[in-house]
Amino acid sequence: MKNFDVSTLAKMIDHTELKSNSGEKKIKNLCEEAKQYEFISVCVNPANVEFAKKQLEGSDVIVCSVVGFPLGMNTTEIKALEAKKAVEQGATEIDMVINVGAMRDGKHDYIREDIKQVVQASAPAHVKVILETCYLTDKEIIKACELSVEAGAHFVKTSTGFGAFGSFEHHVRLMRETVGPDIGVKASGGVSNFKDAMRMINAGATRLGTSAGILILEGAKLFKFAPAAWLEPEIPCHTCPARSASMAKLPKALYQYYTNMCLKCDHREKYNKFYE
């Protein structure tokens, strides 16, 4: 497993606050923390872009705005307009959510165009495409990555943090393998400590979206004393989306997809034996 110093890690973190109940006080704190810990960006809702930009004046921290967030179900025109406005107000990175339903329906041209319009409206800002991997099969994730690259996106990103589950290294690895080395991969949702962060980075993530950035950096300071076992991969099932699939949160078809994935997996016997 690769090791990173704290400052390198900080420059990989989008310090994130996207809850609907976050007022200016929280955004101000977010920006202060981003400056103090030298995160690469703050990731905020469009309504907070201008305010965040002001708080960050004179610092290297950039503003990242989400678009079509969190469901991705706005029309393309609205997403493009939302992106354009965010860039005008100071955002230099845009995290857009795809229309997940259209992706599930196989409307690939629509998805490509949806992304392309946002990319064009956002220029020169960089665009990260949120796939919401929890609602896609592996095949769909691969296809969505290909469409993102074709549409000129700069990053693909796993999750909104509002879906059935967040990022898993299985998905990050799949995305990295698909987009190749020249496109960024952002892992977001459920990245809550240093070990999670390292797991994602080693799977191919070049950016992390998290509200736990400070915890991650504080944890990283401890790890130089930590025994190797701390960083060793756990039983694969602990970090597998199939094992984490929730019947309550996932649609029936996807729940069955993940259940089947689990039933066919070679690790299953080892897992059951370990816990029997």
């Binding site: 103090q36 240093f194 915890l215 944890g219 076992a229």
Partner: protein, 589 residues
């Protein structure tokens, strides 16, 4: 030196004389304060032959370099030899007493000798005065604190013993600031053996700080880190330590009926959420602490503080009791009489199992709460069966021919986590220098709470390393005399920054960690001279031979031997758990 008042005074209660101890700069750097410096002073003054309740024994109250300055640093640390275990012992307590002692101009007090008559010490900016305590001897801790405050000022902090300490119950606590306790290891009995009823402290002296501007930023950083951590920023604030009841029960490692089971069916009735719904009146905080985990509560009879997680368990699941009102009353009674709630409850649980096995003469049944509060009183006054229960579980179970039924390590009762559910915690219990305690290495943090990361609780891989690391960090933090809860949120690197900003020392993280390692080894050296060895780094056979039959930790036993071998090797100790000359030399002991 910044961060210190540069004054530790030895008070000899035989002669009434006071002597300021000169602490060498190198010693301060090697042992800091609190647990570390207390250990160093103790081992310089006393030997493994010292009887804990003899007048020759020293009782050391120490603050640390951050006391009175930083969040949670109102604490103090007491060091002596434990009358319960015979090991070196340290016990820590929150509140404000430590801050007041330091602001009165004293980093610590070393109490030696024994007064002919009951006395208390009044510590002010003017000095230390030994005063007659005849009128408060026999009073409970709350009454003692009230009388001393009435006599002096409501601003003072009082650390005192109750009847349990006066009666030399080997697990008597020292209570301060009403309901804060230096609970474990029987420091209250050592205090009682010296006829020392209380110490009062108050002061407003400025504590010198090396970098005041840096300190302001550091205080803000600490607040941020506390706020961001889900344990310190949310769980402990909302539900107090009893937030753990449902968590640990769900993991099948909530010890029930003297650790016979790992799932308590009535946990819902005694959990943090239930406390919040029923008896909770408000939160209480120690010195400058934003967490405020303390619970102000009220029963139908009176008001008080608690119960904390361990106490909810000790008088609850451990005894099969789910009557929250009685559990809380038993807690209040322990606070007033000055008893360690963990050992008190666990010893009663041991007696219940002895009764179940037909060897204990008095009827004590699982789930029967009708006599619980009276039992606690009987222990403090050593009345009736209370005299037996006051022995602690180890001696009690030995007396009745069933030593295996005492759930203890080195004579100290285990707290509320069944080691079969967390292999690292099991090793930590076994190798703890003060006995069966969770505070010297809280492996529940990574194994259950995922802080700083989740570790597989069933695996023994890497656990020796993690236990040693946690034990050393904890010893270092105890020597800064900060609340352990900060360890959820703050790394050793930041602790080092705090120390440097306040003192102006230029510690590295490695150096601070080495302080912890040094302390752990010196404690071990003292214990080995007192006859402790591998045979004592042992868990009760229940955990090594019997599996839990239900819950999420079922079908497991502790794989202790394998972990112990690795742990000793890693520590540089021999196969018997004794530190080598080389490691002592390397650590400058």
């Amino acid at each position: 030196m910044n961060g210190w008042m540069n004054k530790i005074v030895e008070v000899n209660l035989n002669t009434g004389k006071q002597k300021t101890l000169i602490i060498d700069e190198e010693v301060r750097r090697k042992y800091l304060g609190g647990r570390g410096l207390g250990l160093k002073l103790y081992t310089d003054m006393c030997s493994a032959d010292t009887n804990p309740l003899d007048e020759d024994n020293a009782l050391i109250f120490l603050t640390g370099p951050l006391t009175g300055i930083i969040q949670t640093a109102g604490r103090y640390q007491v060091t002596s030899r434990s009358p319960l275990t015979g090991t070196i012992a340290d016990s820590s307590s929150g509140g404000f007493f430590g801050a007041n002692l330091k602001k009165a101009g004293f980093d610590g007090l070393v109490i030696t000798g024994k007064s002919e008559k009951p006395v208390y010490l009044e510590v002010t900016e003017e000095g230390i005065e030994i005063k007659n305590a005849m009128n408060i001897w026999g009073k409970d801790t709350h009454e003692t604190m009230k009388m001393l405050k009435d006599e002096s000022s409501s601003n003072i902090s009082v650390a005192c013993i109750g009847p349990a300490g006066e009666n030399l119950v080997p697990y008597a606590a020292i209570m301060n600031d009403k309901d804060r306790a230096a609970g474990r290891g029987g420091m209250g009995a050592v205090m009682g053996s010296k006829n020392l009823k209380a110490i009062t402290a108050f002061g407003k002296k400025e504590i010198p700080v090396s970098d005041p501007e840096g300190l302001k930023k550091m205080i803000s950083t600490i607040n941020t880190l506390i706020d961001k951590n889900p344990v310190t920023g949310k769980s402990l604030q909302l539900l107090g330590t009893s937030v753990l009841v449902n968590v640990i029960n769900a993991h099948g490692m909530y010890p029930t009926e003297n650790f016979k089971r790992g799932v308590f069916n009535d946990a819902e009735g005694t959990c943090g959420e239930k406390i919040a719904e029923t008896i909770l009146q408000g939160r209480s905080a120690c010195f400058k602490c934003p967490i405020a985990c303390g619970r102000k509560t009220k029963t139908s009879k009176r008001e008080g503080e608690g119960p904390e997680y361990e106490t909810v368990w000790a008088f609850g699941a451990q005894l099969g009791i789910s009557d929250l009102e009685t559990i809380t009353e038993a807690n209040y009674t322990c606070n007033e009489l000055g008893l360690d709630t963990i050992t008190t409850g666990s010893t009663i649980g041991c007696a219940m199992e002895l009764y179940e096995k037909g060897v204990f003469p008095e009827k004590l049944e699982w789930g029967d709460s009708s006599n619980l509060v009276k039992l606690v009183e009987d222990i403090a006054y050593k009345r009736g069966i209370g005299k037996d229960l006051a022995l602690g579980s180890k001696k009690l179970a030995e007396k009745y021919g069933k030593p295996e039924l005492a759930m203890q390590v080195k004579g100290m009762e285990l707290p509320a986590y069944d080691p079969r559910g967390a292999q690292g915690q099991a090793l930590s219990y076994a190798t703890s220098n003060r006995g069966g305690c969770h505070m010297q290495g809280y492996l529940i943090s990574p194994e259950i709470l995922g802080s700083p990361v989740f570790l597989d609780r069933y695996s023994i891989e890497g656990k020796a390393e993690i236990v040693a690391l946690f034990q050393d960090i904890s010893a270092a933090v105890d020597s800064l005399v900060l609340c352990r809860f900060l360890q959820f949120a703050i790394s050793i690197d930041t602790f080092k920054d705090m120390l440097n900003i306040v003192t102006g020392l230029n510690f590295t993280e490695d150096e601070l960690l080495k302080v912890g390692t040094r302390i752990y080894n010196l404690e071990r050296k003292f214990n080995s001279e007192a006859g402790f060895s591998r045979k004592d780094d042992m868990l009760p056979p229940r955990f090594l031979e019997e599996v839990l039959t239900e819950g999420a930790s079922r079908n497991r036993v502790v794989q202790l031997d394998e972990m112990l071998d690795r742990y000793y090797k890693l520590r540089g100790w021999d196969k018997n758990g004794i530190p080598s000359e080389e490691i002592m030399k390397e650590l400058g002991i």
